[in-house]
């Protein structure tokens, strides 16, 4: 039997220390350069905004996944994950800062240009978007754009996003600051409070995810709809959040900022959770696909049609299927791999790349297949500059995200210092 560890953090205060102060300006400069470069290489806002949106969605899903992680760990009174929770709380707190990154998208929409979302100005349904016009067969109905205008209009859109970011910000702030307060005060009262709030927070979170996913990505083609979409967004987001938390923990341990507070048992459990969510993501993705494929209704299938039957996209779809589902499934199945830090480092980076591809795959096809008859040039491989532009945008956005994280993390402790379940966490053993 192993020795029982004392229920407290014994290493010196664990935080980013001064590293953050040096990182932030560098990251911000890289971000600015990347984004501006991307704007130039992609030749203007129209194409740039799609790349920007794909990256933004990717990063937002990570933040929201981390918020979910925090909420669910409180709701289930989990003890094993205590030392990992602070990392998730910090990432969740990045969400309100993501509102700044959301501004380009919001401003574009509010100024009435339909570079990104076709529903911003009218006329998207009269010209017909492929074969998806539902109202064409029923003469008495008004065109779709009129039917949906009460929801898909810039004002309501902006109002909704204000609500989302407010809620996410308040929730993330609540959990982070209460947890930080507990670092000083200790005790169980604050834990009970966080537990009590976690239940209604989860309900509001679910509602916000539903409409945020509709607004962010599904309305890129206002003809299409799928009730499964929020679940799909959620599944991918939680998976990449788990990967991000694990990767961050590994990095923090490697650079000595966190020592034995996070043990191999924690990584094993994170590996298990990631495996579970890989399967869950695959299940959701397949269900959505199968139902639309099987019923074969053109107003739904065209969305998959542009992703599967066009040459370049077909390859990417297969990469997504095999690379996001089959390979990680086989790779993360075993006990040994879940307990290897090296392997997990590689695996989490791989999963994040795959999740990025997922959002790219969700967003980009709508650039070339916009309703309203805009026939635009191809997406990535038509020109090397477009490819560079996408890379620049991605690098810039990730740098911005790192800057935000460092700003949030500052010199705050990277593990909860006085959580009542620390004892259980530090002695945690997976059989």
């Amino acid at each position: 039997m192993h020795e029982t560890r004392p229920a407290k953090i014994t290493s010196p205060i664990v935080s980013l220390s001064d590293g953050y102060a040096r990182t932030i300006p560098v990251a911000l400069i890289v971000a600015a350069v990347g984004i501006v470069l991307s704007f130039i290489l992609l030749q203007g806002p129209e194409r740039f905004l799609y790349s920007y949106l794909a990256n933004f969605a990717f990063l937002l899903s990570i933040c929201l996944g981390c918020l979910f992680f925090v909420i669910i760990m409180h709701l289930t009174r989990a003890g094993w994950s205590v030392t990992l929770r602070r990392i998730a709380e910090l990432y969740a707190m990045c969400t309100p800062y993501m509102a700044i990154l959301f501004l380009p998208i919001l401003v574009t929409t509010l100024t009435g240009s339909s570079y990104l979302y076709p529903w911003v100005d009218g006329g998207w349904s009269i010209h017909g978007g492929g074969d998806a016009l539902a109202s064409a067969s029923v003469d008495q109905l008004p065109p779709l754009e009129q039917l949906k205008a009460s929801f898909l209009n810039p004002t309501f859109f902006a109002a909704r996003w204000v609500v989302y970011f407010t809620f996410w910000g308040v929730a993330a702030a609540f959990f982070l600051f209460t947890s930080l307060r507990q670092d000083k005060e200790g005790g169980i009262k604050l834990t009970h409070r966080m537990q009590a709030i976690s239940a209604p927070a989860l309900i509001a979170f679910a509602a916000s995810i539903v409409f945020a996913s509709f607004d962010l990505e599904m309305s890129l083609d206002p003809f299409w709809f799928s009730t499964m979409y929020p679940v799909y967004f959620f599944a991918g987001g939680v998976l990449s959040a788990l990967a991000t938390i694990t990767l961050t923990a590994l990095w923090l341990q490697r650079t000595g900022r966190v020592t034995d507070e996070i043990t191999i048992e924690h990584y094993h459990d994170m590996g298990k959770l990631m495996f579970g969510f890989i399967v869950f993501w695959g299940y959701i993705a397949f269900s959505q696909f199968l139902l639309i494929w099987y019923a074969n209704i053109p107003e739904e299938t065209f969305w998959y049609d542009i992703r599967i039957n066009k040459v370049g996209w077909k390859t990417l779809s297969y990469i997504l299927l095999i690379g996001h589902l089959f390979i990680p499934f086989l790779a993360m199945m075993g006990r040994t791999v879940r307990r290897s830090k090296t392997f997990l480092s590689v695996a989490t980076v791989y999963l994040l790349i795959m999740h990025w591809i997922d959002h790219f795959w969700l967003v980009m096809p709508h650039y070339a297949n916009a309703p309203g008859g805009h026939l635009r040039e191809g997406v990535v491989t038509t020109s090397f500059f477009y490819f560079l532009g996408d890379v620049a945008c991605t690098v810039g956005m990730i740098a911005a995200f790192i800057a935000i994280f460092c700003l949030v993390a500052r010199s705050r402790p990277l593990v909860p210092l006085q959580d009542p379940r620390l004892g259980e966490c530090l002695n945690h053993e997976v059989h």
């Binding site: 039997m1 397949f286 074969n296 199945m333």
Partner: protein, 488 residues
């Protein structure tokens, strides 16, 4: 002191020493001590899996997960294979598959085949897990010397045991007992293997064979009837299914009414399917060109009936026969049956028919195949069939209406017998002559009509060529045929 087990048999062999402990911690401690002391052949027994025992005894991780993984991978192939076999092909003998054509989905469509494949993977893996685990555990094992130790009954309740086996090198009766006491054992028992009970009872074989035979009887009885016929009437287990309360087509209508009403049948004419209304056209036989297909002017196309089924035709024929019988009895010659309206027939060859010399030759060929048997090669009504039939009718052995000579006045008359009516005669028959619609296609029928008119024009009534001046005759024939073409 160790207690002997409650086995009364004389032949026993010591298998090991069983020590009882009262809590799991002591047991784990003892196991660690035993392993440190060099014991390898030992086992611990507990009511629940005790955390820490595995390393204490030195249990290596089982290979069961790998067995299950390989079975799962095989099941992927099995699942897809079953579906490929059953739905993806239909040529494999002796049990070909069946290709369903459903809503345009590909015959072997991977997305639709995933759910069943997944279930087969789970099922196979579950079987591998379940049976693999029991097999690896060497269970069921109903005969175990441990069960003869009465104290051992507590192992499934709240006591913990450690057994050191005699097979181990370090084992020695007294030393091991002392060690176990040192390690905290509450009680120690001998575990003895009973050597006498190793044979199966003799009656087992008899029962087994009898049982096997009994089990074989029902399938043997069933299969003995396979491929045989049976004269006994069927057993009707589900009468509602065998005599269903509905009317099937082309059978007599079922008795669907309440007997108390007194109305015994659904339809008076006993049919369960209604006849098509007049004007109903068989599927695929909608002819817009009534002139070409029926010889009837388009204004009168409404008079075209469906042609009917066998019953209809039989009735029409019956009516016609009755009429003719009546007329025969009345002594009149059988005149062309009175038509309701001769005007409906076309008087010239229809536009859909182009008359050329080749077609006229074809008409001649067709005439000689289908018509000459009764009407004769020159249309004079002296075909061999007609001659034979007339001779039989003369003796009273058959009834026969003579095939008409095509050169008779009212057959040649364009007013009484326009070309459309000739076409109609070929198509639908007339009097005793049956319809040739099924045998002769439309174009050929018109070709025959043209040839008939040619014969009538030439007036040739003998099919034996006149001896002298053949060329002149032939030329005359050809000229007249050419005139005929122009006329028509």
């Amino acid at each position: 002191m160790a207690e002997k087990s409650n086995n009364e048999s004389k032949e026993q062999e010591l298998v090991g020493l069983l020590a009882q402990f009262d809590d799991p911690e002591t047991l784990v401690h003892a196991c660690n001590e035993a392993r440190a002391a060099g014991y390898t052949k030992m086992d611990a027994y507990s009511p629940f899996p005790v955390h820490g025992i595995d390393p204490a005894i030195g249990i290596k991780r089982s290979i069961l997960p790998f067995i299950v993984l390989s079975v799962a991978l095989g099941a992927v192939v099995l699942g897809l294979g079953i579906q490929l076999y059953a739905n993806g092909q239909d040529t494999f003998w002796p049990f070909p598959g069946y290709k369903f054509l459903i809503s345009g989905k590909p015959i072997f469509s991977i997305p639709a085949n995933i759910p069943v494949t997944f279930e087969i993977i789970v099922l196979s893996s579950a079987f591998a897990t379940f049976f693999g685990m029991w097999i690896l555990n060497k269970l069921p094992r109903f005969s175990n010397p441990l069960h003869r130790v009465s104290r051992f009954k507590r192992v499934t309740n709240d006591k913990f045991f450690l057994m050191l086996e005699t097979a181990d090198e370090k084992f020695s009766r007294s030393v091991s007992e002392g060690q176990l006491n040192d390690w905290g054992a509450v009680a120690i028992d001998e575990v003895n293997q009973d050597l006498t009970d190793t044979e199966l009872p003799k009656w087992l074989a008899t029962v087994g064979i009898l049982g096997a035979i009994m089990l074989m009887l029902p399938p043997a009885a069933i299969f003995s009837q396979w491929g045989m016929t049976n004269r006994l009437p069927r057993l009707h287990v589900v009468p509602d299914m065998d005599w269903q309360h509905k009317s099937k087509t082309q059978t007599m209508a079922a008795n669907l009414s309440n007997e108390l009403d007194g109305v015994s049948l659904m339809y008076e004419d006993l049919r369960s399917a209604r006849r098509p209304v007049d004007g109903a056209i068989a599927f695929g036989s909608l002819d817009i060109d009534s002139e070409l297909s029926y010889g009837i002017k388009s204004d009168f196309a409404y008079t075209i009936t469906s042609g009917g089924n066998a019953l209809t035709r039989a009735e029409d024929t019956d009516k016609a026969d009755k009429k003719e019988e009546k007329e025969e009895k009345d002594g009149d010659a059988v005149a062309p049956a009175e038509e309701d309206n001769l005007e409906k027939y076309v008087t010239t060859l229809p536009e859909g028919f182009q008359l050329t010399e080749e077609i006229l030759d074809r008409g001649q060929q067709r005439f000689e195949i289908y018509c000459a048997a009764c009407h004769g090669y020159a249309g004079a009504g002296n075909g061999l069939v007609n001659q034979r039939a007339m001779s039989l009718a003369a003796t009273g052995a058959a009834t026969w209406t003579s095939a008409r000579s095509l050169h008779e006045a009212d057959v040649k008359d364009d007013a009484k017998n326009p070309v459309g009516r000739i076409y109609d005669t070929i198509t639908n028959g007339r009097g005793n002559m049956g319809p040739y619609k099924a045998q002769i296609p439309v174009q050929d029928r018109w070709a025959i009509v043209a040839y008939v008119k040619a014969l009538q024009e030439t007036g040739i009534q003998s099919d034996v060529p006149v001896a002298a001046d053949d060329d002149a005759e032939e030329n005359q024939e050809q000229n007249q045929e050419a005139d005929e073409k122009q006329e028509l």
